[in-house]
């Protein structure tokens, strides 16, 4: 029995408080915007304090290592399906609701509550005077509740419920300015695209339920016996591999992996703080978190599953990074950067390092939230201008935003000793150590691209020539304070990995041995070099330019990148020609075949009716003769036919006796 920390049993309050705030704002205080935002921020800050309390229990009191072996669960029964036991489990199916605390969820609690708190405080300044101010904070609270509930889920069904809830919040917040058609379209696109992935996840959950009879993570983990691993589904593919693939479709949608990445850049139509919180720091990493949560499933599956995860992650990383080079909208650059970094995290999980993936998740949450909020600050100052070529010279006018943004850029570029350096280094060394030299190369090249396009953004927007029509001014303190705090974490966040009992000691797969790893300068060296090379190259190319020199030098390549490899166009083409074509065929089938059968039956009945109605002559004597003859026949049948009468029964003709 592990030592109970008093804080653990109160962890359910962490998602409950934002829920309460959502209900209060939605039903009572909607008319008073200031009160609404105060309630929302008070709730999330209390959650943050509780999360820190829980984290203190996990990391500082020494039970953290025990929790990796035996996670703490605090559950109430929700549904019990009595009767026949399901699958391998001997007990009836139980679905519970509760909180699961291990270092992984504790780390996520800290990141989510911290970023959510800062974003909500920032939003007070950014959303000032908006008509939907109260509604905005209600959604923010709902999102915080959903995300924290997802993090604390003890079983896959609970996780799936919150998974859909964060998707809903994402939809609501992308479409927050619903009077803009582009926002409406983006919200719909995001919702539908992620639904495609959720379908796979749901199938995977059903597969697990069918075989194991439980969805509880800990119980599932203990069921991963060699016999289970050897179970074959179809055609030599093991059951676990199939399930792992299905479950992985969920993260493909939610975490924007190729080919379901198209929704994330469009999701930038929402308010910028929303992009920072939901589409950079928290919700989109839910997919990565899910993979980490059920990592035992991927380990139990055949190596092809993790291989696939790693390859897709690596591909997404380089794919999105190359697109980011040619974008001009400041938020879209960051969106593609997010996609690329998500690919990085997925790749880390795929090459077998849960630690590296989650570490990068944490540091990325800090510096990407920082950069999105910085971009929001810039957009706010320039009155909704988002094209980086229309900016320039902002550093002089916006000292705090510019400096913190620079810290974010350096962090994501992997410059030591900032956060991104440590996590990126762990991913690269994991790729190299676990025998994926190609992915290591891709990772290294992506790191250079990342440094390149981030420096490009910074050089053009903050250091470029000043524009006369712009009158930027520094944002109010409610907006700059979160930037400063996030900048602080972007610097020191990576240091969590340095001590021997640091990040890797706590956040590792359940039941695994802790292997301390020394700094690998063979990996770190090239990583630093490519990062710096990217920065310097980008500085040389873009400094002082008024238009894109890359566009002039490589017009064709630039055009392809600018149009995002025409993926959206390709999807549109598919929808227009193939889906619509199939639709037309099915429409024809419905109108002429299905309806034809139904109409045909009616027509047959009607024609038979009009044929047989001729039998009704209205001639009294004809009827009388028919009666008489029928009577004779019945009489003969009864008299001479032993049991022949039965044969006259039309209902008995079909073989009745």
């Amino acid at each position: 029995m592990i030592r109970m920390e008093a804080s653990f049993q109160w962890a359910w309050l962490i998602p409950a408080l934002p829920l309460l705030s959502f209900l209060i704002i939605g039903f009572i205080t909607k008319k008073w915007p200031k009160l609404s935002s105060t309630i929302s921020i008070a709730a999330i800050l209390t959650s943050f304090v509780l999360a820190v309390w829980v984290d203190f229990g996990v990391f500082a009191s020494g039970v953290g290592a025990e929790l990796v072996e035996k996670p703490y669960q605090h559950v109430v029964n929700w549904l019990t399906f009595s009767g026949v036991p399901w699958g391998l489990s001997a007990a009836p199916l139980n679905i519970e609701f509760g909180t699961l605390i291990d270092p992984l969820s504790a780390m996520m609690l800290f990141v989510v509550t911290l970023v959510a708190s800062l974003v909500q405080i920032y939003s007070v300044g950014y959303m000032h005077g908006d008509k939907g101010y109260s509604r905005y904070f209600a959604y923010q609270s709902l999102f915080a509740m959903s995300m924290l509930g997802l993090v604390l889920s003890t079983n896959l069904l609970q996780l799936f419920i919150f998974w859909e809830l964060v998707g809903l919040c994402s939809y609501l917040l992308i479409g927050f300015w619903f009077f803009k058609p582009s926002a409406r379209e983006a919200a719909k696109k995001a919702f539908m695209t992620t639904r495609v992935g959720d379908f796979g996840l749901l199938l995977g959950i059903l597969f697990l339920l069918n075989k194991f009879g439980t969805l509880n993570f800990v119980q599932l983990f203990h069921m991963m016996t060699p016999e289970v691993k050897a179970m074959v589904a179809v055609g030599g593919v093991s059951y676990l591999t199939l399930t792992a693939f299905l479950v992985f479709i969920g993260p493909i949608g939610k975490s924007g992996q190729f080919p379901l990445h198209v929704w994330l850049p469009d999701a930038m139509e929402g308010p910028t703080p929303v992009s920072a919180l939901i589409h950079a720091a928290t919700m989109v990493v839910a997919g990565v978190y899910l993979i980490a949560r059920i990592y035992f499933l991927f380990q139990g599956a055949s190596p092809a599953a993790l291989e696939f995860v790693a390859s897709l992650g690596g591909f997404t990383a380089i794919f999105a990074a190359s697109i980011a080079i040619a974008q001009n909208d400041i938020k879209r650059i960051l969106a593609y950067s997010t996609l690329s970094q998500l690919g990085y995290m997925v790749m880390a999980l795929g090459v077998g390092s849960l630690t590296a993936g989650m570490f990068h998740l944490m540091t990325h949450a800090f510096f990407k939230a920082l950069m999105f909020l910085g971009a929001g600050s810039v957009i706010h100052a320039l009155h909704e201008k988002q094209d980086i070529w229309e900016m320039g010279g902002l550093w002089k006018k916006m000292r705090i935003t510019g400096t913190t943004f620079a810290i974010g850029v350096l962090a994501i570029a992997g410059v030591p000793p900032l956060a991104g350096f440590f996590s990126k280094d762990e991913i690269l060394s994991a790729a190299l150590h676990n025998g994926h030299p190609v992915l290591f190369g891709i990772g290294l090249f992506t790191a250079m691209l990342t440094a390149f396009y981030m420096t490009r953004l910074f050089v053009i927007a903050f250091m470029g020539p000043e524009k006369a029509e712009n009158h930027p001014h520094e944002s109010p303190w409610v907006m700059t304070l979160p930037l400063v705090i996030l900048a602080f974490f972007s610097i020191v966040g990576g240091w969590a990995g340095i001590p021997e009992h640091g990040f890797a000691y706590f956040v590792r797969p359940w039941g695994s041995e802790f292997e301390p790893e020394a700094m690998n300068w063979l990996v770190a060296g090239p990583s630093i070099i490519v990062g710096l090379a990217g920065i310097i190259l980008s500085y040389i190319v873009y400094y002082g330019k008024a238009s894109d020199p890359v566009e002039a030098a490589f017009p064709r390549v630039y055009k392809v990148l600018k149009n995002k490899y025409y993926v959206d166009e390709f999807y549109l083409w598919i929808i227009k020609h193939i889906v619509d074509g199939i639709g037309k065929v099915l429409y024809w089938f419905d109108i002429y075949i299905v309806d034809g059968i139904v109409d045909g039956l009616a027509w047959i009945a009607r024609s038979l009716g009009s044929l047989f109605r001729r039998a009704q002559t209205g001639q009294l004597q004809v009827y009388a003769i028919i009666f008489f003859v029928a009577l004779i026949v019945l009489f003969l049948a009864v008299t001479y036919g032993e049991g022949q009468l039965h044969a006259l029964n039309p209902l008995a003709l079909g073989g009745g006796k």
């Binding site: 009704q616 002559t617 209205g618 001639q619 009294l620 004597q621 009388a624 008489f628």
Partner: protein, 115 residues
């Protein structure tokens, strides 16, 4: 040769059957509605003959412990006569009513209730 003839049950039944067939033929073939009704009467009376004959030849026994005879057939025949009288009354009334409205009592023409 012995011409003496004993009239037994078969004779009555034969007469009844003949009457029934005449009636049946009349019902099937007569065009005048009144003739059809008359043929119907023939059939009913054929039944009456059967009932009386059966009672006379098969059931001519006293009720157990009394001097009374079983008269079920007779009673049934009287019921049939009563019902036939009522039926003819209604039937004739209908025929007259139809004749008044359509100036015809031909059953072939009385087909306007078909479909």
């Amino acid at each position: 040769m012995n011409f003496s003839l004993t009239v037994g049950l078969p004779h009555y039944l034969l007469v009844g059957a003949m009457l029934f067939c005449f009636g049946l033929y009349g019902v099937f073939s007569k065009k005048n509605a009144i003739a059809v009704l008359m043929s119907l009467e023939l059939m009913l009376n054929a039944v009456n003959i059967n009932l009386i004959a059966f009672n006379r030849f098969l059931w001519n026994n006293p009720v157990e412990g009394t001097k009374h005879l079983l008269l079920n057939g007779h009673v049934s025949a009287i019921f049939v006569i009563v019902v036939a009288a009522a039926e003819v009354a209604v039937g004739l009334a209908l025929v007259i009513s139809i004749y008044r409205s359509r100036l015809s009592a031909n059953v072939d023409e009385l087909d306007w209730l078909k479909w």
